[in-house]
């Protein structure tokens, strides 16, 4: 009963990502003994939440722990090592916890992860859509084929859940906003930026980097621009992705299934996909 409570509450906290799902996500099977999960949740609240947030969705100092992406290894042993030894050079400290306590925290974290089950679609058809009529490859590269403007998707099936992939296709801007709020620097890389130069040229693209005085961006023709903000007529950031929303008019439900199946088939051979970490603010 207590477990349900915890999950319900965490789900409330995480409502905007679609709640939580039992049982475990794919990578490693921890025995999710309910009592262990409960103890893990209380321990998480005591030991981890200050940095990683109430629902482990990331906080001021620590990254989101629900994405299934682990910067320092994703097996139970990797997670235990990260918790125990910390990550040198970041705010993630070594922790004086017993092995049992650590495995309880890991068991709890596993309950928070999105499922990565393969969807029912036809991934071969999805591949044809990706490189063909859906024109995904004009911006996204997969195993050396495709454009440079959007994120590389060669291992997206390991890094992202089906729900995340579907949402990113239907509502590309949504994750940008949410991830930015949790300090994911990747998110702001795919905002839309429009710069108007002093001679009236308009450059639309994605920021490659930015600071108080300069912005570096890649335009829709994959040209890289280095711009001094003071020399611009205007610079506008928009909380939207340059990627069009693939709604039902653009992509039918069955096409979406096929595309999602293809993207989910793109997997890393390593069990520890990189990315998503935000260290040392």
């Amino acid at each position: 009963m207590r477990v349900t409570n915890i999950v319900m509450r965490s789900a409330l906290a995480a409502a905007f990502i679609g709640g939580l799902t039992f049982p475990l996500s794919g990578q490693v099977a921890s025995p999710a003994v309910p009592q262990a999960v409960t103890r893990g949740a209380v321990l998480f609240r005591q030991e981890c939440m200050f940095c990683h947030g109430v629902s482990a969705r990331g906080g001021m100092r620590g990254p989101d722990l629900t994405t299934g992406m682990w910067s320092h290894g994703g097996t139970d042993a990797d997670l235990a090592a990260t918790i125990s030894r910390g990550v040198p050079g970041t705010a993630m400290p070594a922790n004086n916890l017993t092995d049992d306590e650590i495995s309880e925290i890991v068991a709890y974290l596993r309950t928070l992860q999105q499922p990565t089950a393969i969807s029912a679609g036809d991934h071969k058809r999805g591949e044809n859509l990706f490189f063909g009529t859906a024109r995904c490859s004009s911006c996204h590269i997969v195993n050396g084929r495709g454009g440079l403007l959007g994120p590389e998707l060669s291992t997206v099936g390991s890094a992202r859940s089906r729900a995340y992939i579907v949402e990113s296709i239907r509502e590309p801007g949504r994750q940008l906003t949410q991830n930015r709020a949790f300090g994911d620097s990747i998110a702001s890389k795919y905002d839309t930026v429009t710069a108007v130069t002093s001679d009236g040229r308009t450059i639309v693209g994605v920021p490659m980097n930015e600071d108080t005085f300069t912005v570096q961006l890649m335009d829709t023709s994959e040209r890289v621009h280095s711009l001094q903000k003071k020399s611009l007529k205007s610079l506008r950031h928009e909380d939207r992705s340059l990627m069009p929303a693939y709604d039902l008019n653009r992509l039918s439900s069955s096409d979406l299934d096929d595309l999602a199946a293809y993207l989910q088939s793109l997997r890393n051979t390593s069990s520890a996909p990189k990315g998503g970490s935000r260290e040392n603010r």
Binding site: N5, I6, R9, L12, A13, F16, A41, V42, L43, R45, Q46, E47, M49, F50, G53, V54, R57, G58, G59, M60, R61, P88, G89, T90, A91, P93, A94, N95, N96, T177, Q178, R180, A181, F182, G183, S188, N209, E210, D211, T212, F213, D239, N280, R281
Partner: protein, 535 residues
């Protein structure tokens, strides 16, 4: 207090060849030696202001790199160097300490501490700097010791344990020397500690006094805590205070009550959390206190460097102490009596309508953390944080780092873990609002009125303190590595250099051989800049 500051550089340099030990008198008169940087905030008034003006608004464009000192230690460097008679002393995370020749940037010695494998630290293994007296420098350590190092060799002269690190106590702030004592404030407000400010004899290391920032059994104010919650009530003191030699008063900020987001078990005002305490530096006795955020549930530590300002308010010359507080208000108090004079919001504030005539916030209902989450501005990080503010007696403006963000604050009675020594004891969490952008800025406030005179917005995620000079400049940095000089009157950016890593502390200035230097830490390195010499 500030009148002695208008010294020509040439006059100051005459003294630099005289290698003398740091004396209490030199510390009191630090403003007479602007070629040195004798303590954390430069001088006892906490102003982080340099009277040097060789580098100024007209020539700052010629500022150029002279040397770099790489610590090689990973992690967030929040240290302020001190500079004494040609030697710069700085720290790095994990309690590394170094002495560096200021003419060349070459290290003279390196102290490395053997720290426990696990430590109870909320926010990383930071250290913010050293203090100096006689032939020694002093450091508070992450394992809650105070150490005295020989200034010429870095060898340990004494090393005393102040508290039990296993219970969550640590030191991250720079100590302050007052007379023959080294004063340190403890960190650990996330671990259910009972906070304190300690004074140690600089010669022997013997503890001279301890001021508990939470009253104990039978003491006045203990009834501002429900039951025995005072025993683990936090109220740490992790940022260096200020000192008024004429009033013989030490001013020190205190941090959040614990657990910081969950208040029902510690009902009451929770004295002296989130306060400024005025202490007798000889005995540690409390002279007065002022609490900024009674019964705080948003983690708004008042651990700021208080700045002591002499200014006329309402036609009357007054001795003031000014604080830009994490709770979003800028405050001015009478530093003789602690009387509240004014408070004005400098950023978006949703938790209080105003500060009343007695200095107490008029609360907005339903802003406590909740199981579902409650949006409150400023964020848990605060409208500002520990970052050094600065005051220029030339512009008579107060400058500080401002963090513009609102947070979702969550707290949930059913999942509250029990207190366990050395474990986080925070009562839940806060995190940024989805779809709301964080902004950071340097602000200038007129301390006579509390009004914001100018704002310089940085690109997101700056985390740097500020520093002002008689050259009409305010220096700060952004989170992307730009070290920036602003016009102290207008906030206009005059110059910047890309140093390649975030600036997470404030700059200082010193002079050697007739040249003024500006020194700042970015990433893992200290950069020393001076005007390019003409060919």
């Amino acid at each position: 207090m500030k009148t002695a500051r208008t010294f020509a550089l040439g006059l100051c340099l005459a003294a630099s060849s005289v290698s003398a030990q740091v004396t209490p008198e030199r510390l009191v008169d630090a403003a007479r030696e602007p070629q040195q940087w004798l303590m954390y905030a430069g001088s006892y008034d906490g102003s982080r202001f340099s009277a040097l003006d060789q580098i100024n608004r007209t020539n700052v464009q010629r500022l150029a790199l002279q040397w770099v000192f790489q610590t090689g230690v990973r992690g967030r460097h929040e240290t302020t160097p001190i500079v004494i008679d040609g030697v710069l002393y700085l720290t790095a995370p994990q309690n590394h300490a170094y002495a560096v020749d200021v003419r060349t940037g070459r290290p003279l010695w390196h102290y490395e501490r053997n720290l426990p494998k696990t430590m109870s630290l909320c926010c990383g293994p930071q250290n913010r700097g050293l203090a100096a007296l006689g032939d020694r420098v002093f450091m508070g350590t992450l394992d809650a010791h105070v150490v005295a190092l020989d200034a010429k060799t870095g060898r340990v002269r004494w090393d005393v344990a102040a508290a039990d690190a296993d219970k969550g106590f640590s030191f991250t702030g720079a100590p302050l020397i007052v007379k023959d004592k080294v004063i340190v404030g403890v960190a650990g407000g996330e671990f259910g500690v009972r906070g304190f400010i300690d004074a140690y004899d600089t010669e022997s290391g013997r503890r001279a006094w301890r001021f508990y920032t939470i009253p104990g059994e039978g003491e006045r104010g203990v009834d501002t805590w429900k039951g025995d919650s005072w025993k683990r009530g936090g109220a740490p003191a992790w940022v260096t205070g200020s000192f008024d030699p004429e009033l013989n008063t030490l001013y020190w900020g205190t941090g959040n009550p614990g657990p910081q987001m969950y208040g029902p078990n510690r009902l009451g005002d929770n004295l002296y959390s989130d306060s400024l305490v005025a202490l007798d530096p000889d005995t540690g006795a409390l002279k007065w206190h002022f609490q900024f955020t009674p019964h705080d549930v948003h983690d708004w530590d008042s651990t700021h460097t208080p700045i002591l300002i002499d200014e006329t308010i309402a036609g009357r010359p007054r001795k003031l102490v000014a604080v830009a507080n994490r709770n979003g208000f800028f405050y001015v108090l009478d530093r003789v009596t602690g009387a509240f004079l004014l408070a004005r919001p400098y950023t978006q504030v949703t938790w209080a309508k105003e500060i009343d005539a007695n200095g107490r916030p008029v609360l907005v209902p339903n802003t406590d953390p909740s199981a579902e989450g409650t949006r409150v501005c400023p964020s848990g990080t605060g409208g500002t944080n520990w970052h050094s503010p600065s005051y220029s007696p030339r512009t008579r403006l107060f400058y500080f780092f401002s963090y513009e963000q609102c947070d979702m604050f969550m707290s949930d009675e059913k999942l509250e873990p029990p207190y366990r020594p050395g474990r986080l004891f925070i009562g839940s969490a806060f995190f940024p609002m989805p779809a709301e952008k964080t902004e950071t800025a340097v602000r200038a406030v007129d301390p006579k009125t509390g009004t914001v005179r100018w704002t310089f917005k940085q690109f997101a995620d700056a985390w740097a303190g500020v520093f002002s000079t008689a050259g009409g400049l305010v220096f700060s940095g952004d989170g992307q590595g730009n070290f920036i000089a602003l016009d102290a009157d207008t906030g206009r950016d005059l110059w910047h250099i890309q140093l390649g890593a975030a600036i997470q502390t404030a700059a200082v200035s010193f002079a050697v051989d007739g040249r003024q230097y500006i020194a700042v830490v970015a990433g893992d390195a200290l950069f020393a800049l001076a005007l390019r010499t003409e060919p």
